[in-house]
Amino acid sequence: MKKTLCLMLIVTVGLFSLTGCQTAMGIDKFYYIIALGIDFSENHLLKVSIQTTDNGSGESNGSSGSGSSQSSNYKIYSVEAETIDSAITILNNYLSKKVNLSHCSALVFSEEVARSGISPYISALNNNTELRHSCEFLISSGSATDVLDMVSKSGESFTSRLFDYLTTSSDYTGYSIISTFGTFFSSLQNSYRQPCAVYTEVKDDIIQNSGIAVFRDDTMIGTLNVLDSISHLMVTNALNTCQISIDSPFKENEKADLQLRLYKNTDISFDMINHAPYITLDLYPEGTIISSGESFDYTDNNHIKKMEQATNDYIENIMKQYLYRITKEYQSDIAGFSGKYSSEFLTKDEFDNTHFQELFRESFFEVHVHTQINSSNLFNKQ
């Protein structure tokens, strides 16, 4: 026992004195950044902006939490450099504290960067041990710095939460997807699926989601609007709930609003006809009528049938539009059709022989929608 203690003492003293572990970096020595924005500068260099909490000027200790002057607590620094890592080094030098990405809650790329090929930046970030995979991944229509700036001014006391809301809002709107750095990276690596990310726009001092940024390999090639986004979520079974307005089948110039969710996963079946994939989709949305104008009677079966038919038509329409876009316009398999098709084969070699990935752009679709209208909200007749 004495020997063990003695040994431990020697080791401890030795370690402390010889290896310099007492210089370990505590939380005081780091600069935690909340969001990272990446743009191109005018000199065709990378412009990396970081958003941080401004701890240095927090003079009002003791009585914090007033919340009125919170927005001034965030600062944005931008530097230009060749790569993200060298930009961070410059920032380390400039801030005289080590920039730490472990609490970074959002990555914002400008559309310009995304369209020029995003892969080098992504792999640099992925190799970073600090960055979380759950960090939000956004593509902004304008410059990324603007997005960070706008978020700083939003008055939210924790801006990381705002970034969170930006993407999780798709849970109840269906107007975008949940895209984190991890999911983006894994679909970038995945040969069965093309990556896509949230597309945000800064308009009139407001940041908003406006659909999905579509990538082919690592290059952004276009955007999908919010209706396409609903279709995308339906195909990938990721739709939580969304709201659509369709033309009322009972009265012209009237709209009916429905809340949709999927009651069953979408069935996708494949066929090869004349060396072109023939893909049949069966969608099973389930709807609640939120508002329907005057003439809808939920107790009337005919009315329900009509409403269901109208919903079917509507969804089929937006779905076809979406499918047309991803196959013909963007030729990017963001819905992961090839992955689904591959599961019909026993070995990968067999699947490779079909050359599905090349033929994807030729594919044509058949969409069946089986809507069920479950209830109106509070009143059966309106």
Partner: protein
Amino acid sequence: MIKEFFHKIFSYTDSEKYEFILSNTNNNIPKEEYEKKDTTTVYPTLSVNLEYIKTKYNLLINTDIKTREFVLPIKSKNFSACLLYIDGMVSENAINEFILQPLLLRNSITMQENSNTTAITKNISVKRVRKFNLEDFIYNSLIPQNSITKETRFSQIVSNVNSGFCALIVDTLPVVFCIETKGFKGRSVTEPITESVIKGSHEGFVENIRTNTSMIRKIINNEKLIIEEVSVGKISQTKVAICYMKDITNDDLVAEAKYRINHLDIDFLLSSGQLEQFIKDNANMAFPQMISTERPDRTCHYLLSGRVAVLVNGSPFSIILPAVLIDLLTSAEDANLNYHYANFLRFIRALALFFALTLPGMYIAITTYHHELIPSELLSAIITAREAIPFPIIFEILIMELSFELIQEASIRVSSSFSTTVGIIGALILGEAAVSANIVSPILIIIVAFTGISGFAITDNTLRFAIRMFRFMYIVLGYAAGFLGITLGFYIHFLLLANTSSFGVPYFAPYIPFSNITENNNFHMKPVWKRERRSQFLNTKKPEMENSISMKWRKNGQ
């Protein structure tokens, strides 16, 4: 010199380790033997009766059972007689004055030659020879006591004696007089200070060993409880009582306990804490290897579940052996509570153990190495709180832990009239002022306070000391290498504890080594009607504690 030093440290020497392992052999007493009812009646011969009682009470080893043999002179005849009682449970005055005195003193009644009434009629003296009845004579004339019964069955006698009666056995009589002589002496029994409970007995041990043994006897009320007495210490000759249940406790365990206590070559022994250190298996291990309790009810609970209790004269604590880690987390209250609450409380205590041991270490590890583990919002709160603090976290935490230890020590040592002052100084000056003076951050105060509270939730005193000490080790390790250091600490701690055993029982029993967990009393308490078996690791002679259907009233309707 240096060479020698390194040789000492890095060379391997075979340590001579004393190893005792509680055997696993089956030594159960058959069930029928327990259920056998003692129907023996009192024999008319005193010597036979005495012989019977001697075996029944194991008089050769049981020290607090006293017999007083004397001669009862009645009517010029001498009857040998004997008193049987338990020392400590009876009032000596009552026995001396109201039993022995009337029996032994040659008074007018006893000296009367055959209490014959002589009637003289017409000069003829007619002797009415009444048949002399010794039994009635003693009952009616000799014992001036209000509560006295005549018993013929030994089972009844024994149970009376166990509850503080004094038995008078007289030769030639097939009857035993049970005379009530209950009484205690010594300091009045008070509430236990260190182990207070809400729902349970409020009796605590006192300094007098006899009073303590009588308290145990009073609760257990069974002749199979053996209280052996030995003297320890060449000068002090301190009385040490070893208590166990003869038909439950493993013989090896008793033998080992006796062996260790008897083989102490010391000058004096003053307290049970001292004895505990003398008879520990692993003397260098800081964790307690025996339970030390000042509650008679808890002691009896352990005795009845097959352990050995050791009492030391002059010390209001009993030592229970063997003890395993989970015993140190149980409280006297657990058995009295509904098992849901008891389990909840045990879980809380286990958490408390973990936090008390590692929380400051974890805090320093996380803030120095693993900051990504802290939620972002909390992190910014910590950073904001620490803005004006000039010290590194390690220094901050050491200051606070040290001052907390100081407060704790001071408030125990100081007389109770000062302890409020200590509390105020501690809470206000060290807590409040240190924060406003920007010496420590408020977050750290929360950590230290939480750790302190967790420490107080641990029931065992000795364990609490060990935890307080090792906490500093974990702080240093956490600072040295974050979770790697803390893991190293855990691992070494585990190795040492796994190698430890308390009187042959592994410290982590019944979990490690894994031995039929269902047959043991686990950390998780079963409902009271399912505690059917005594702990398997104690290897008792009577594994069953209650019938498989203990609540027979439920089955009556069927």
